[in-house]
Amino acid sequence: MNFQHPYSELLRTDRLPHIWCPGCGLGIALDSFCMAIAEMKLPLDKLAVISGIGCSGRIAGYLNVDSFHTTHGRAIPFATGLHLANPELNVVVFSGDGDLVGIGGNHLIHAARRNLNLKVFCVNNFIYGMTGGQMGPTTPPGAISATSPFGNIEYAFNLPHLAASCGAVYVARWTVLDILKLKKSMQEALNKKGFSFIEIISPCPTLYGRFNNQNTGVEMMRYFKTHTVHNPKANLSEIEISHGGQIVVGKFLDIERPTFMELYRKVVQERVKRTLDEKYEEKAYPQEHT
């Protein structure tokens, strides 16, 4: 990208061009997010983005907000601490399928269960991109990858179903083709109180595509275009993604449930009697400037 980017104030322009391959969907996902926050006029100083490790994991680093590039799989617990320490922040976890549901799967399901006020945007490119194209927990059965040279024999997670079954209050899936709907969905999540999960289907032509007869980003996009079905009323248990099958997209769930932090505050107010003297309070709290 050697033109002036319309969201340059949202991006760390001194880090561009990004490292992603031509045709990669990650730029689009990043763009949608920029669009979403630009339009909402979200106070950028109160936005924090956390990623794990992976191609997708580089998203945090391009955004000109407080951003954290943690270890592989650990974006959610890191975000948990950040969120609880400062509940005023709007905390977004933006990372890859391998990162969030491969090695990081346990954190995902527990964070959803706790209904932490986190917004998790999971870029599903069906593959471990950064490490060179190994199969992962979202690779469709049959697909070829560096570690499934004879075709993947594992089933893939149905991520919206998984997130919902653990207690997420907002669940959606879009492909990077659905850029405006994706943007809107991100905005809804950012406005939502509680654990929100958006699966973003994105092409990795370099690795997933190349192994599976879709050599360019454009080819993969065309594939998405012809296979996408918008059906927000779909039965969540029936929307797994298969090789060559439909990709059902939509906002599947949007419900209300008190968050962890709301309940924590309630407990503190109702049950805890503060018994400590003021002095103690004062001195012990971390001080701002010294």
Binding site: I19, C55, G129, M130, T206
Partner: protein, 179 residues
């Protein structure tokens, strides 16, 4: 004798494969020692990418290039980034359409429109074979016969003919300009 070779270009030009073939040719078909090291990882995808080959009659201890004897450059970027450590007397093989050498560059420069030749053969991707053939002719590091065997051991039957054709065309290419 020890020869240090740097091959550089863009991801997708078959730079690493060229290095691999050189190394295999030397070790398996010419009974020499060789090491191949290369740039890895996503930061190199799409951008400048390089392979280092050392070929020697004796055991090679240190696999990093300290004094490049031969450079093969298939992109301007690769040339810029990796030509620094070439020694003054280095022999440089350049894709004439893709690389414009700097004035200051000493040593011997050999040009071949490898990519163009490959395109004419029907597949841009065999430019690396063209340049290997060219190298065999003008450097004496590897023989054409050994190269051919190495290529035969690696390239699938389906594509072998094309690859060999590219190799030969590189070998037989008449040098245009030497500087």
């Amino acid at each position: 004798m020890k020869t240090e070779i740097r091959i550089a270009g863009l991801g997708g030009q078959g730079v690493i494969l060229a290095g691999y073939i050189l190394g295999k040719t030397a070790t398996i078909y010419q009974n020499k020692h060789a090491t191949l090291t290369q740039s890895y990882g996503p930061e190199s995808r799409g951008s400048a990418c390089s392979a280092c080959v050392i070929i020697s009659d004796e055991e090679i201890f240190y696999p990093h290039l300290t004094n490049t004897d031969v450079g093969i450059f298939m992109s301007q970027d690769g040339y810029h980034k990796f030509n620094r450590e070439a020694k003054d007397s280095a022999l440089l093989f350049l894709d004439s359409d893709l690389v414009k050498p700097e004035e200051k560059d000493a040593g011997k420069l050999l040009f071949i429109p490898a990519t163009q030749i490959a395109e004419k053969l029907g597949k841009k991707i065999v430019a690396n074979m063209v340049i290997l053939g060219f190298l065999a002719r003008h450097s004496g590091i590897v023989t054409l016969e050994a190269l051919r065997e190495a290529v035969g051991s690696i390239v699938s039957k389906k594509h072998l003919e094309l690859n060999l054709k590219a190799l030969y065309q590189g070998y037989n290419y008449q040098v245009e300009k030497v500087r």
